[in-house]
């Protein structure tokens, strides 16, 4: 499965960098701890952007391609951040014929992001999902655990506004 690589500018803070450095310092004597360091780095940053992978590679004394190789092998590592609110649009058949594709495009346009991307403020991310079994409510989208059904494109601004304060 190919992973989506974020194109958002990296916005790490010095505090985060310092925390990562502490993790690296505690583990760099043992190259087998690479995965553990990457797991902690993901805990600090929420995902593993190229900049963080480079910091890990430099700190642990291994090539960047090794870090990248491990990051892409395991399902747990994310190369793209998830927003505080993850909007997931059902693109199953029932929803699709009822216009969920339009919902998706409207969201993408409003938020300015594509599939598996995250807004710059880290608030929203957008994903397309398979049928969630609520065909009677089609078209359906979810925001984290909240389900919205029988939607039209005009409902989108109202839904986003609920999470936008």
């Amino acid at each position: 499965m190919q992973k989506k690589i974020s194109t958002l500018p990296f916005k790490g803070t010095p505090e985060q960098a310092q925390r990562l450095q502490q993790v690296i310092d505690a583990n760099k004597s043992d190259p087998s701890k690479l995965m553990g360091v990457m797991q902690e780095a993901q805990g600090i940053y929420g995902y593993l952007p190229m900049e963080v992978q480079q910091m890990i590679a430099d700190g642990m004394g291994v090539p960047l391609e090794k870090v990248y190789g491990v990051a892409t092998f395991y399902a747990q590592f994310a190369l793209s951040p998830k927003g505080v609110y993850n909007v997931s649009v059902c693109l199953g058949t029932a929803c699709y014929v009822k216009g969920s594709g339009d919902l998706f495009n409207k969201l993408s346009e409003t938020l300015g992001i594509g599939a598996d991307e995250c807004t710059e403020d880290g608030k929203f991310s957008l994903t397309a999902c398979r049928c969630i079994g609520a065909c009677g409510l089609a078209p359906v989208l979810t925001v984290n655990d909240d389900v919205y059904g029988r939607l039209t494109v005009d409902d989108i601004p109202g839904i986003l506004a609920k999470y936008n304060d």
Partner: protein, 595 residues
Amino acid sequence: MYRSHVLVCGGTGCTSSNSQKIIEALEREIAANDLTEEVKVVKTGCFGLCALGPIMIVYPEGCFYSRVQEEDIPEIVSEHLLKGRIVTRLLYDETVGKDEIKALNETDFYKKQVRVALRNCGVINPESLDEYIAMDGYQALAKCLTEYTPEQVIQVITDSGLRGRGGGGFPTGRKWALCAPNKAPQKYVVCNADEGDPGAFMDRSVLEGDPHCLVEAMAIAGYAIGATKGFVYVRAEYPIAVKRLQIAIDEAREAGLLGKDIFGSGFDFDMEIRLGAGAFVCGEETALMTSIEGNRGEPRPRPPYPAVKGLFGCPTVENNVETFANIPQIILKGAEWFASMGTEKSKGTKVFALGGKIKHTGLVEIPMGTTLREIVEEIGGGIPNGKKFKAAQTGGPSGGCIPASLIDTQIDYDNLIAMGCMMGSGGLIVMDEDTCMVDIAKFFLEFTVDESCGKCTPCRVGTKRLLEKLDKITKGNGTLEDIDELEALCHYIKENSLCGLGQTAPNPVLSTLKFFRDEYVAHVVDKKCPAGVCKSLLHYEIVADKCKGCTACARVCPVGAISGTVKNPHSIDVNACIKCGACMEKCRFGAIVKK
């Protein structure tokens, strides 16, 4: 001394159904009723009956309360704990007899179980070394270090007939004996706790319910093969297990049960947890070692075998959690005791995770050789909703199906292999007549295709082609030649893949082809799915006699495929219908049928 003990399950299943809240409410109510000195609340590991969670047992009466809600707590405390009146309405219904309350181990679910690996799960507080020691904990390690030579330890394990519980069933004693004589400055013991089969969770239960047992067993293995260091590779998806195991390791180290010169014997052993990161292939032993070393978890060709060149190039023994969980008991009670259970070539007990279309889902530990009928009908309580048993799937994506005609087969390693199945880690999924076997094979192949690591071509490309063929068949576009090609490709993948994942990936297809070939044929020749699962091959119809013309279906249809006027029978346009089933759910008259 407490007069009552209240055991509440703190396993993952019950924690998800909010057992933590129950514990807090209990402690609050107990304090409010001034019973803190008399009643003790213990958070334990899994009891096994996860479907009835959150679960609570009150001793000394042994009352088994199921599906307890926070609102029930004041009643339990004021009635039962204060006045001694059992709250019958909350008891697990199978424990309520005519005039008396049955003990839990007399109920159908527990009656046939023999708990060895799970003996402490749901009995002790897993975060307390003292409680483990009270259950003879660390006595086996002491016995090994003070009375046995390493060779004698291996002999006991060999004589017991214990075989690897992780899947393959390799004799554990032989594995240790192969590693022990290899001289090296460093050797390792590795525990495989990367339980990845969908539906199997026995290793998690042991880690959550009895973590010290694993620590003790790994130290024994270290002594037997001459290793001083152990690694436990646990899935990161098991946070409770990781936390409790870490507590156990720290406690053991503090008490001198790990570290230098254990029991003054001169034997050193210490261990460390490594977290997996979500890759199924890491359950394969060489891939797991590659992952611990900090690499992409790809398997390595064998030989050299891990006993010679394993973790970090050193001689290594790797066993799974359930295998280790048997070790201390075998040392304490002897090889003969263990070998007295089970069948000729499969000794002891096995833990199964019962799931699927069965009444009692959960964890059961039974002697090897128990028949599938006993598991499904007696322990599992049969199939719900009056449906018929069709097959049981064992071994997850590496295993196969046992059809209803073989329900009296004794379950052990060799009988399963003979049927084209596999013990695997012990997932046992029950299927009823509504399950399509081609669809099941496809489900497992989707999993394997996702999880194939890509290192070798037969697995990477072969499984993809298998999935495409299955997809073609379930869509109604298959031919009889496809079935033959499917079979040939399965054998090719089995023979040529590098590791266990690829070598066993075709099993779900081969075993369903063996026992349910007629279903494959029905899909390609008659273009029908006998179980009514494969969407492309079925259609919805309205039975005119039963339709009252209420229009409910037409209103719920997402694509407007249903037409008709009020009070007149409606009809479905099969070309527009997307087969979502919303109309059938909505119809109150049973007028809509799936064909």
